[in-house]
């Protein structure tokens, strides 16, 4: 469903991705882990054509995104839903208008059906009855869940989640993990999750890719990754920092 070949991307002199290659099959759920600043968010944005690689290809269902115009990309993006790391809610719209955005643009559903779907969706992300609030009135974790609702309400074939559970309390985080799994199983979505949360990585991922040193450093099932003997992977999984000079 998603294929990335030899993707390279720099910002000015600073190279972020250098030869990233992987495949994700239809209906599969893949977790991408990696240190902060390793380029996970940048990689996700390349998958949906928000950013263009310096070289290398991204193929979605066999179609190469290289050289497509913005209008053609929009057709490809109809397959996608995306949750941004910072939620990226439209702050001039209410929560309900945010969540229903894709429907409004389509114009195929009636207002009543839309309102019902929105209410149902907000219930699922554990935020019932906040339809008329503005994003600025919400907490960070609430915004994230509204962003999640907005990304999956129209049942896209592929969903990209950028740190869906970061900043949520453990109980809500768990319910979000389950929601992601439910969405995957119920409508066979291809799921790509970026996360730092190893517990949720183990639970959601059928496969884990580790981004390190500007490329895919390790890949495997959660069992393989968690049992890996590689020092870099071990260190990440166990979450220990390098002993540095002690200042305090």
């Amino acid at each position: 469903m998603i294929e990335v070949r030899e993707l390279r991307r720099s910002f000015g002199p600073h190279r972020v991705l250098d030869g990233v290659t992987f495949r994700i099959e239809k209906g599969e759920s893949v977790v991408i882990i990696g240190r902060s600043g390793s380029g996970k968010s940048v990689l996700l944005k390349h998958l949906i054509g928000l950013q263009q690689p310096d070289s290398g290809d991204v193929l979605i269902a066999g179609e190469n995104l290289r050289g497509l115009s913005e209008r053609e990309l929009i057709r490809v993006r109809r397959r996608f839903g995306m949750l941004f790391q910072g939620a990226a809610l439209f702050d001039s719209l209410t929560v309900a208008e945010n969540v229903a955005f894709a429907f409004r643009r389509d114009g195929s559903l009636t207002e009543r059906v839309i309102a019902e779907r929105v209410a149902e969706m907000l219930e699922m992300v554990d935020l019932p009855g906040i339809e008329d609030k503005k994003p600025s009135e919400l907490s960070g974790g609430m915004r994230k869940r509204v962003g999640l609702a907005r990304a999956i309400i129209y049942r896209p074939e592929i969903v990209l989640y950028d740190e869906p559970t970061t900043g949520l309390d453990p109980i809500v985080a768990d319910s979000i993990d389950q929601l992601i799994l439910r969405v995957r199983d119920r409508i066979q979505t291809t799921t790509v999750v970026v996360t730092h949360d190893m517990r949720s990585a183990r639970r959601i991922g059928q496969r884990i890719l580790m981004l390190h040193d500007k490329r895919i450093y390790a890949a495997g099932t959660p069992e393989e990754i968690f049992a890996s003997a590689d020092p870099v992977v071990r260190q990440f999984v166990e979450g220990v920092s390098n002993p540095k000079e002690v200042y305090f």
Partner: protein, 259 residues
């Protein structure tokens, strides 16, 4: 030595090229896209209704000062009653559209650049794109349409009020005979003057919208980027209006066979 100005000119031309591409994209979208009435009406409200006080004040005081200055000169050659004609022609073809547009550029152009710029730095533009919506369709077109509709109307208001205020000043303050004054005004002001003014306003509206959107959508990172985009939108829109105005005057005069 020569490297710097070359690069500067290059960047400038490139920017102008992108601006034209955005304008082209917006017009193409305008012609094919089904218009989102709700957004359009909100934008017209924001551009048109909320600019009233600024534009009307500008129009009234410009008319008044123009009447006074013209009188001071014309009185010397005993042409007092032609004062209002000068006010009227000046307001219709030049001062009305230009000053109204400059005021709106300061108010609305800045607001557009700040709003779209903030949307860009908070990834809302990217979010829009992931939701299969073209930023030009959703953000640029309603603003462009609102400005090219609202600006001629605002100009007409400013012109009307300017002439009215000029007339009041001539009559009550400067003691010019109101009947002759009004007669001359009607005699010398032609429909062409008004057409010229409104055409200018229409085009200036387009300039404000496109420059504001261009600066907002291409905004740099962070709060600093938004601040810069806002300032540049106002400066470039204003300069664009003033420069275009000259060539537009020549072109329209030729078209309307006055030159």
């Amino acid at each position: 030595m020569t490297l710097f100005p070359n690069r500067f000119v290059e960047e400038w031309i490139e920017g102008l090229g992108r601006l034209v591409l955005l304008a082209k994209e917006a017009v193409a979208s305008l012609l094919t896209f089904k218009i989102a009435w709700r957004d359009l009406i909100y934008q017209i409200y924001f551009v048109g209704v909320k600019s009233q006080s600024v534009v009307l004040t500008t129009g009234a005081f410009t008319g008044m000062v123009l009447a006074t200055q013209t009188y001071l000169q014309f009185h010397k050659v005993k042409m007092d009653t032609a004062t209002l004609a000068v006010v009227s022609v000046g307001m219709c073809s030049e001062l009305g559209p230009v000053l109204t547009s400059l005021m709106v550029a300061g108010r609305v152009g800045a607001a557009i650049a700040a709003e779209l710029g903030t949307m860009r730095v908070t990834e809302q533009i990217d979010a829009l794109r992931t939701l299969a919506t073209h930023p030009v369709d959703y953000l640029v077109v309603p603003r462009l349409l609102a400005l090219i509709i609202a600006l001629p109307v605002l100009t007409l208001e400013a012109v009307t009020l300017g002439i009215g205020a000029g007339h009041a000043v001539s009559t009550y303050l400067l003691g010019i005979d109101p009947v002759w004054s009004w007669y001359h005004m009607q005699h010398y002001t032609t429909t062409d003057d008004l057409i010229m003014g409104l055409t200018k306003a229409f085009i200036f509206g387009g300039i404000i919208a496109i420059v504001g959107c261009y600066k907002g959508l291409g905004c740099g990172e962070g709060a600093e980027g938004v601040g810069r985009a806002t300032t540049e939108a106002v400066v470039y829109a204003s300069i664009g209006i003033l420069i275009t105005n000259f060539f537009l005057t020549l072109a329209l005069a030729r078209l309307l066979n006055v030159l």
